[in-house]
Amino acid sequence: MSRLSVKWAAASAMILALCAAGCVVPGDAGYGDVGVGYGVNFYEPFDNYGYEGPGYLVGPPRGGDRRLPGYRPGAHAYRGAPAGHAMPSIPHGGPRDHR
């Protein structure tokens, strides 16, 4: 041990470091580092919780709804769909065998 070559030690260190760096997930997008990537931020804060009543009318439209004649999108932060566009619904039908 006392006669280890500096060159050999340096080369070994570099190889090991490169191997380690090659395996490390840069950053953490989730899975590869389950213990790290899914941080506490992915939990919801403990807010007002419990029975929330029937006020949730948040489902999809059936589609085909036309705006009332004379409809004009109001002033919004978003860009409203053109008045002539009918409201779409969610996908339907399809080739799957379990409808």
Binding site: A13, P26, G30, Y56
Partner: protein, 341 residues
């Protein structure tokens, strides 16, 4: 030239000097610094630290961690803005597996090398991931379902999200077979992920029972949030009439669509129910009332009783035994039979 004979070296001594010089030169050329025991110890300590500081799961991850492709066989379909996946982040994966298997008939496969992560399947199609994540002691937080919305280019989406006030929670990363993904919080704090699937996105057909069918953003400012998501996913935004009861503030409902299909909605919280903005993801079921009752029998909660939504389709808001919120929705072919195309 005369040289004093006493000073003139003999040929033998010259040879000795030359030999000595040669040996010295060779020694100089071949001499190497050596490590003392202390130096060697320092080097080994540094190497050990390097190895220890590199997260062990990460070291193992690239070799062992393989998510199933989103679509198999791979397709070239891409539906930007569509809900294509969801991950449950919870403290007890085993309890979650039991609950959702009984509720939706989900089956599971472990991911090689990951004891804290499973994939849920419906009819052999992967639909969700479940990840165990410990909460630090004293943290009062709730397990949650994290929706993944389809994009074509994660880096581009990340750029827009951050430029518009969103926050990156997990940087872009590529998973073999799955694609690139990253996790963000929108400007109001609702957490969502984007995924550029390398196998294409699931086809635009009615979700099967047990699959994700819809996603609703519950927020304090649907107007601003819709603008944010419109920038990221290119949604067309449709405003629905407010549904406020007399004497209550108007609740705003906006439909987010892409590819001529509704993909989700941005909504005010119901009157008097302000909370932390979040995405609420819905699973298609055959009977919302029966599913809600079963959820309760399995230790879950009903947060909003089964009720007819404004356009049809009965929905209920539930929570699993650990508290993660999700919705269930009845929907038939007839419900969207009038879809505008």
């Amino acid at each position: 030239m005369q040289i004093d004979r006493k000073l003139r070296p003999s040929s033998a001594s010259l040879a000795r000097v030359a030999r000595r010089a040669a040996l010295t030169r060779r020694a100089a050329l071949t001499r190497r610094p050596v490590l003392t025991s202390r130096a060697a110890l320092t080097a080994l300590t540094a190497l050990t630290a390097l190895t220890v500081l590199t997260p062990a799961p990460a070291l193992a991850a690239s070799a062992a961690f393989e998510l199933p492709p989103l679509v198999s066989p791979a397709s070239t379909e891409h539906h930007v803005g569509k809900l294509v996946w969801a991950d449950l982040v919870t403290t007890d994966v085993d309890a979650a597996k039991t609950f959702y298997a009984a509720l939706f008939g989900w089956t599971y496969r472990d991911i090689s090398g990951q004891k804290d992560f499973v994939i849920a399947f419906v009819n052999d199609r992967p639909v969700a991931g479940m990840i165990r994540r410990e909460l630090p002691k004293g943290e009062q937080r709730r397990p949650a379902w994290l929706p993944f919305l389809a994009v074509r280019d994660v880096a581009q989406a990340a750029q827009i999200i951050q430029a518009r006030g969103g926050k990156e929670l997990a940087v872009e990363h590529n998973y073999p077979q799955r694609g690139r993904q990253a996790v963000f919080a929108d400007p109001q704090g609702a957490v969502f992920a984007v995924l550029a699937s390398s196998a294409g996105d699931p086809p635009d057909v009615l979700a099967a029972p047990g699959e994700w069918i819809w996603s609703s953003l519950m927020t304090v400012d649907p107007d601003t949030d819709a603008a944010f998501y419109q920038r990221v996913f290119g949604y067309e935004v449709y405003d629905l009439p407010a549904d406020n009861a007399p004497g209550t503030p108007a609740a705003q409902h906006l439909v987010l669509s892409s590819g001529e299909y509704a993909r989700g909605s941005a909504n005010s919280f119901p009157a008097g129910r302000l909370g932390h903005p979040h995405w609420l993801n819905f699973v298609r079921v055959a009977d919302a009332a029966a599913t809600a009752a079963k959820a309760v029998s399995l230790g879950g909660q009903v947060l909003s009783e089964p009720h007819l939504d404004r356009h049809g389709g009965r929905i209920a808001i539930l929570a699993d035994p650990a508290g993660a919120r999700f919705g269930v929705m009845e929907w038939t072919e007839n419900d969207s039979g009038e879809a505008a195309k």
